[in-house]
């Protein structure tokens, strides 16, 4: 009952988010493709910060999913998610392969969750 209700309530919220994000994202994609000829390109002042959007955003997405600050350093570090993330990060660095990164990360997570820390 509660679940069904939550689904009904969540749905319009999700659709609003989807449509607004979609419209703004399309505007971003179309921007210069549409305007070309009227302006020469991205002004340097805009271009410079944009260079740092991918690493800053991606790291802000990744790290909170791998690290939770706990009272002790040991408790923070001995976390299956952080260990799996470190292994996957090394694989990403060596291979630059999305599939290999996911596969080793998930395997390491399961190894520690179901075997080592079980």
């Amino acid at each position: 009952m509660t679940d069904a209700l939550a689904g009904v309530v969540a749905s319009p919220r999700a659709w609003v988010a989807i449509v607004v994000i979609g419209v703004v994202t399309y505007g971003i994609r179309l921007s210069f493709i549409h305007l070309f000829g009227r302006i020469d390109g991205v002004p340097t002042r805009v271009q410079r910060p944009l260079r740092y959007v991918p690493p800053a955003v991606l790291a802000a997405l990744v790290l909170p999913d791998l690290v939770t600050l706990r009272p002790s350093v040991a408790a923070t570090l001995l976390d299956e998610r952080l260990i799996a993330g470190a292994v996957a990060g090394a694989v990403a660095w060596r291979t630059e392969n999305v599939f290999a990164t996911i596969a080793t990360g998930m395997a390491t997570l399961w190894l520690f969750r179901f075997v080592v820390f079980a």
Binding site: A17, V42, A56, L61
Partner: protein, 229 residues
């Protein structure tokens, strides 16, 4: 002019993009799994993949929707993530400048990291290619695989027990994109600062940690660039 769009240039785009599908297919699967995890159904998941069609922002929005973050935070975070496409739009625009308004509007919808990177490299190397056909071959293939992968992810996500932690694949996908994005000192500083601030700010109200972390990372990258030069 060839009488069909299925010509050599279009097929070259399809062929060149196919090795990338090994990375895109699991990414799309994860988008479907994350949608289920956020409490969305098949219609919303596919709606998002069709209307937004930008993986990293979809995953971030799903995570925030699942945590019941305010809509403004969900939208703001996704938009910041997609701002990078402003650069792609500017960079690819001269190649499409001769086309009509309608065709350009259609091509813009399909703009992604991969379609952009592949196409501008090919346009430089092979100026005789039909630009829109080559780009369409690559970009439309990505679109199709993205939609199929999303549906498969919804089905898979609904069938696998929570203990398996399938949504852990979300940060792993981002990790695979993050590592090559940290290619010099300022971009590395941007990543380290963005991640560290996001961890510390994880408890902020309104789920603002991600946005605050990202903005601090961008600022740190800029400061590093300025002090180095």
């Amino acid at each position: 002019m060839p009488d069909t769009v299925f010509d050599e240039d279009l097929l070259a785009g399809v062929r060149d993009v196919s090795p990338l599908m090994l990375g895109i297919a699991p990414f799309a699967l994860v988008a479907g799994i994350a949608a289920v995890d956020a409490g969305l159904g098949l219609a919303e998941a596919v709606g998002m993949s069709v209307i937004v069609f930008a993986g990293a922002s979809q995953l971030a929005a799903l995570e925030l929707l699942g945590e019941n973050a305010p809509l403004a935070v969900v939208v703001g975070t996704a938009v910041v993530i997609n701002l990078r496409m402003l650069m792609y739009s500017a960079s690819i625009a001269p190649h499409f400048a001769d086309y009509g308004r309608r065709l350009r509007a259609g091509l813009a919808y399909l703009l992604t990291d991969q379609a952009y990177a592949l196409s501008v490299a090919e346009f430089d190397e092979n100026p005789d290619r039909s630009r829109w056909r080559y780009y369409l071959g690559a970009a439309a293939s990505l679109w199709i695989v993205w939609q199929i992968g999303t549906v498969a992810g919804v089905v898979l996500g609904a069938g696998v027990p929570d203990a398996w932690g399938l949504t852990f694949a979300v940060p792993l996908v981002f990790l695979a994109l993050l590592v090559p994005a940290m290619k010099d000192r300022p971009t590395t500083v941007a990543g380290v600062a963005g991640g560290a601030v996001a961890v510390v700010a994880a408890g902020l109200p309104l789920n603002l940690g991600l946005l605050v972390g990202a903005l601090c990372g961008i600022a740190a990258g800029l400061v590093t660039e300025v002090t180095a030069s």
